[in-house]
């Protein structure tokens, strides 16, 4: 897929809560085609503390409104700066980067999408694409407390939503891997979130012989295969998460 460096316009910066915000970006021209699971590299301006770009998943694309959504959690200087961005500001992005989630070519199957914290970001657009294909989506979204559960309404447009919180403030109390929905039979599992969660999900998938894709978030310097900084150890040796991933079938990883 052709990659672009684009200046996009910030249409809106929606503060979801203290930690999370949603950037709605648009451009003069039609946005290029992007796949679920792909990501962008955002240049963070106006700060001495974010030298490199920041990789952010594609949360959603609305081709009709020509909108690209980025769902971001504030964890450090770069994301904090991005949280201060205003409507009509310009953001420079490299996109679309990385591979993508596999869209099964059978429909009417049951798939599970497990997201933890801001790891839910790529699952929204994925859910949209899966539903479009006639796949039944079950979203299992977990967080420390209800403040970490985001976009529940949007998710519910594309399938059934289940939640867990560690403090019991929303859905079942505990971790995603203990949720009762896991007794359902699934044909495919997608997951993105903290590594321990993804490993637990991958383990569950292996034990139950379900195909499973995870999306990794290794730290990156370039995002397009030039620096070799973002590697993960796979059965084929070190591979770049930014080009061979971020999405990996768990059968490829040494987990």
């Amino acid at each position: 897929m052709e990659k672009y460096m684009l200046d996009l316009v910030v249409k809106d910066n929606l503060k979801l809560n203290d930690q999370y915000f949603l950037l709605i970006l648009s451009g003069n021209k039609a946005l290029p085609n992007m796949l679920p699971g792909q990501f962008v590299e955002v240049r963070v301006d106006n700060t001495p503390n974010a030298f490199l770009r920041r990789p952010i998943s594609i949360n959603f694309i609305d081709y009709q409104r020509n909108e690209l959504w980025l769902l971001i959690q504030i964890v450090g200087e770069g994301t904090r700066k991005l949280s201060e961005i205003k409507s009509n500001d310009i953001l420079n992005l490299l996109l679309p980067l990385g591979n993508s989630f596999t869209i099964p070519n059978r429909h009417n199957i049951n798939v599970l999408l497990v997201g933890g914290g801001v790891g839910i970001a790529p699952l929204l657009y994925l859910g949209y694409k899966l539903q479009e294909k006639g796949v039944n989506c079950h979203f299992l979204l977990g967080g420390r407390s209800k403040d970490n559960l985001l976009q529940l309404e949007q998710f519910s447009e594309y399938g059934k939503v289940y939640t867990t919180t560690e403090d019991g403030t929303h859905g079942e109390k505990g971790f995603v891997t203990n949720h009762s929905v896991l007794s359902t039979k699934f044909d495919f599992i997608y997951t993105c979130g903290p590594t321990p969660m993804m490993k637990a999900v991958a383990n569950f998938a292996k034990q139950n012989n379900i195909e499973c894709e995870v999306s990794l978030e290794n730290t990156m310097a370039c995002g397009f295969g030039a620096c070799l900084c973002c590697v993960t150890d796979s059965i084929d040796g070190h591979v770049c998460v930014c080009t061979e991933g971020p999405v990996f079938n768990i059968s490829k990883l040494k987990w």
Partner: protein, 303 residues
């Protein structure tokens, strides 16, 4: 029109803007962002005799105005380069250099020899300065004796442009430059990365799997510029300058300090089209300053 061509030892570059090894992949990674035919030269990824997996993740840490890397020369080996990569890149309309690294002098010799006959590879850049490998690498570049030995050995087998890339992690870089010049280097490039370290204070752990790594980016520019100036004063062969170049002004500073060409590394990660912008900026500078050739700028610093 201004003349951008520069002489580099046995060869000529169409312009002085090159991209630095390990930061520009094989060029291919950048073709959507930049017109590769505009670039004066591309130095591809560090290449070794045999396949190397490189160091464990994490390999990267951001630092003030820079970054540390500890890639450790991950590559599939010189044979794979020749068989599978060279055919796909050899028709790029730019000068392609292979950055050669090794753990032993024999590694260097054999690797260089294998590259001798690739038509579209006008030269190699001998990397005696990689700080991220346990054996060889930087060790060769930090003493005059070992630097001389490896350059002499490679010179005896390699017939094209032999550019030698120096390590900045030394007390006296001119001394090393003179030693490699004496053994037949056609040109000298510098600087490779400076050995650095980063720590996550909350976790009390190093940020790199290897603890230390190589520092690059604008943070190192003042050091790089000083070293290029020192080396250019010391040697007669052309010098290729790099370290923290982000824009045309930075590039011109290196040329003024004595570099015949420059390489852009880390900046490519932030702006993958930066090399073309630097080239345009140099052209504009020459026009603004009423100079007809970039050669008039080389070493033109007024003291």
């Amino acid at each position: 029109m201004v003349d951008l061509r520069v002489k580099l030892g046995r060869m000529e570059l169409k312009n002085p803007v090159m991209t630095a090894s390990g930061t520009f992949g094989y060029g291919t990674e950048y073709k959507d962002y930049v017109d590769l035919s505009r670039i004066g030269g591309i130095v591809v990824k560090g290449t070794t005799l045999r396949d190397r997996q490189g160091n464990a993740y994490p390999r990267m840490a951001e630092t003030p105005s820079g970054m540390l890397n500890a890639v450790g020369l991950q590559n599939k080996g010189v044979d794979y380069f020749i068989d599978s990569i060279y055919p796909t890149i050899k028709n790029y309309d730019t000068s392609i250099f292979v950055n050669v690294s090794g753990s032993t002098i024999d590694d260097y010799i054999i690797t260089a020899e294998k590259l001798n006959d690739l038509d579209k590879i006008p030269g190699i850049e001998l990397n005696i300065s990689c700080p991220n490998v346990k054996e060889g690498g930087m060790a060769f570049g930090t003493s005059c004796l070992s630097a001389s030995q490896v350059v002499k050995a490679v010179r005896s087998v390699y017939k094209n442009e032999l550019m030698v890339k120096l390590s900045p992690n030394v007390t006296d870089i001119s001394e090393i430059a003179l030693a490699v010049e004496a053994e037949g280097a056609d040109s000298i490039s510098l600087i490779n990365t400076l050995l650095g370290m980063a720590i996550n204070a909350e976790k009390r752990k190093p940020l790199l799997s290897t603890v230390t790594g190589g520092l690059s980016g604008p943070a190192v520019k003042p050091i790089a510029l000083r070293m290029v100036w020192q080396v250019a004063k010391a040697v007669k062969v052309p010098v290729v300058g790099m370290g923290g170049i982000m824009n045309a002004t930075d590039a011109i500073e290196f040329i003024l300090a004595g570099a015949s060409a420059i390489q852009i590394g880390t900046a490519n990660f932030i702006d993958p089209s930066v090399s073309e912008k630097v080239l345009v900026g140099i052209e504009e500078y020459l026009i603004r300053h009423k100079l007809s050739s970039v050669n008039e700028l080389i070493g033109a610093l007024e003291l």
